[in-house]
């Protein structure tokens, strides 16, 4: 009994001694939370890891707690974190969702930090999209242009040259869609689009066709412009591709990318992120990358980096240090190489990226072509209502295909519904 009591006393003294030594050390450790869906993404995930490493080296005693949240659950998780008053200090959001957070006042105005650090954002791709109520609330991390990838072997087998316009593209897609094993089920497709999933991706897939037809959801003043001959033509093209099953039906974007990489889809229009998937696919040696047959190519802002507004001033300074590293010339240059994507900074050196990614110049060209044409996936004037707008477009397009409706009538319905959404 006495021994037991003695051991308890000694244990208590030891714990007290340890705590007096350890507590100041613990107090010196500050943690910044950083939530991202890109953590495990090959290339871009490695780049974020290098930014974090640099930040922690420059700021001893400050750790970045990097957590992955799946893209599908991202908006819910971030909303819950912000609404619960525990937002991540470093805010990473998709460019189509940050507006809701900015509108709530949850994103810090970055203009004082930009000014004091002397960060030059002239020519920074897509940065104008980060303005919210006249203030920069974020830094654009990627503005991309779609590339066109095709399976050269499949096209050669059918005697088809890579298409350069819509007519050639659809003719090729028709010829390449077939049942190769004779079981009555088509198992090779001309092209591939997501037709199952969220409205945002559906809208992006559909825009490949509406942009080439000259259509836009809204004009530069934010006025809805869906009921136009150009948009009707774009919708008719989408209907032709999907209704005739020139794309596999009911697959997600990830599944279609994998099918393309494995040689089950002949042609694919997609962003720079397609290339790392191609490299892991069974058909990687058969795939070639070229300029899209559509003009202008789909492009736009992708994701943003910002700062939570409801955090202490000293923490804000640390978050800006993190943003400053990510936006530095060195790390923008690394971004091009590691992520094989077009860095938004005009000062990034892309020589290394060109050596590592054979089609890097093409990525730059398509991004510039999309930017020059003022293309973005988020329609002007519908930023706040984007999710609802995208869902409406998806449902009306599905209705057009399922009920075999005239694209002209569908465009009129979309116009009326989009105006109603905008007025809410």
């Amino acid at each position: 009994m006495r021994n037991s009591l003695k051991s308890w006393v000694l244990g208590g003294v030891a714990a007290l001694a340890l705590s007096t030594v350890a507590l100041p050390a613990l107090a010196q450790t500050k943690t910044l939370k950083f939530v991202s869906w890109q953590k495990d993404e090959r290339g871009v995930g490695d780049w974020w890891a290098s930014v974090i490493k640099e930040f922690e080296t420059k700021n001893p005693g400050v750790k970045v707690e990097w957590t992955k949240v799946e893209r599908g659950a991202y908006a819910d998780t971030m909303t819950t974190l912000f609404a619960g008053g525990k937002p991540p200090e470093i805010v990473h959001l998709a460019s189509f969702e940050f507006q809701k957070f900015a509108d709530q006042g949850w994103l810090e105005d970055l203009s004082p930090y930009i000014k004091s650090s002397g960060l030059n954002l002239d020519g920074w791709a897509g940065q104008s999209s980060c303005q919210w109520k006249g203030k920069p609330v974020c830094i654009m991390m990627l503005y991309f242009g779609n590339i066109f990838a095709y399976n050269e072997e499949m096209l050669k087998k059918e005697g088809i040259a890579p298409p350069t316009n819509w007519a050639e593209y659809v003719a090729a897609a028709r010829k390449l869609t077939k049942d190769t094993n004779g079981d009555g089920i088509p198992d090779q497709f001309g092209t591939g689009h997501e037709t199952k999933g969220g409205g945002g991706q559906y809208l992006s897939e559909l825009m490949n066709y509406t942009l080439d037809a000259g259509g836009r959801w809204t004009d530069n003043n934010g006025k809805v412009t869906i009921n136009t001959p150009q948009m009707i033509e774009g919708l008719a093209r989408w209907k032709e591709v999907v209704k005739n099953s020139l794309t596999p039906r009911d697959l997600t974007a990830g599944e279609t990318r994998q099918m393309f990489a494995d040689g089950r889809i002949a042609m694919k229009l997609d962003g720079p992120w397609l290339y790392p998937i191609i490299l892991r696919g069974k058909a990687k040696d058969q795939i070639k990358i070229a300029a899209p047959p559509f003009n202008p190519p789909l492009g736009g802002s992708s994701n943003i980096l910002g700062m939570a507004s409801e955090i202490p001033a000293d923490t804000k300074k640390l978050v800006w240090d993190f943003i400053a590293i990510a936006t530095s010339d060195k790390f923008q240059t690394d971004y091009a190489t590691l992520a094989a994507s077009t860095p938004p900074s005009p000062r990034a050196k892309t020589d290394g990226a060109k050596a590592a990614t054979p089609h890097f110049d093409l990525l730059v060209q398509t991004a510039q072509a999309a930017s020059k044409a003022g293309v973005d996936r988020i329609p002007k004037g519908l930023e706040i209502q984007y999710n609802e707008f995208a869902k409406m477009i998806m449902e009306e397009s599905q209705r057009m295909i399922i009920q075999d409706l005239d694209p002209k009538a569908v465009a009129a319905t979309m116009q009326a519904k989009a105006e109603a959404i905008q007025k809410q």
Binding site: F82, G85, I185, K196, P248, N387, E395, I402
Partner: protein
Amino acid sequence: MAGGRFSLDLARPSRQHWLGYILLAPAVLLIAAIIIYPLFVSVDLSFQNVGIARLDQPRRPFTTANYERLFTSPDFWNACWVTLKLIVIVTSACCLLGLGTALLVNNRFKGRSLARLFVAMPWAVPEVIAVVIFAWIFDSSFGLMNWIFLSLGFIDKTINWFSDPTAAFAVVATTMVWKGYPFVSIMCLAGLQSIPDDYYAAARVDGANAWQRLIHITLPNLRPVLGVTTILVMLWIFRDFSIIYVLTGGGPLKATQTLSIMTYEQAFGFFRMGYASAIGVVTLIICVIAAKLMMSRAPENL
């Protein structure tokens, strides 16, 4: 100390019930914190025009606009109709299949333990895994079901299971039945084993055939179990989210959009938490009424 000012003599006959209250208090407080408080917040939010809700923000003015909008919204009535259809179809199928399999594995035969295991297996499979399996089975381009139907000559071209409203509803209902029937089966099996063998022996002596024994002995004795099970299955369908969300997301054309999917979409898709709370409150009321109605029709010993 015993006679101290703040002493609590639980041994006194007049205070013996206090111990019960004290022991219950933590559980009551916990329930209040995790059920009653959020429920209160939800009801409160449903009467405010709130986009993204925050507890530290001042309360917005009282309004009934969310409910007015809800009851005039065709989407809401569509969601009610889809939920009702799912409840009727899935509950009926689960009960029939569950009762049938329970009667089957209640008999003595070789391999009965294995059969019982197979009957209960879908219940043990996590919902998301079940959904992934069914998503593959019903894949429009490479799914097993299209291949089987084509091979058997039932169809001459593939069915786009998730692009057709009727087909998508059928897929969701099938998945829910597969996931839900083992629960009914297990409950019925437990109920069947509590029916005394004497009843059946007496019925046989009286010349009752198998059908008569089922109608006059088995089903009446199973009524309490079946009643409770039906209510639980019904409530499960009401609140189930993951099966529909992962399979169809409520589409196409809202053909599988139930009240729970609609609530989620309004809250986290469109950030209308006041409106979403109104849908949640109405769903709760419908659940309570439905459960109460079923309980009131159940026998006294339920």
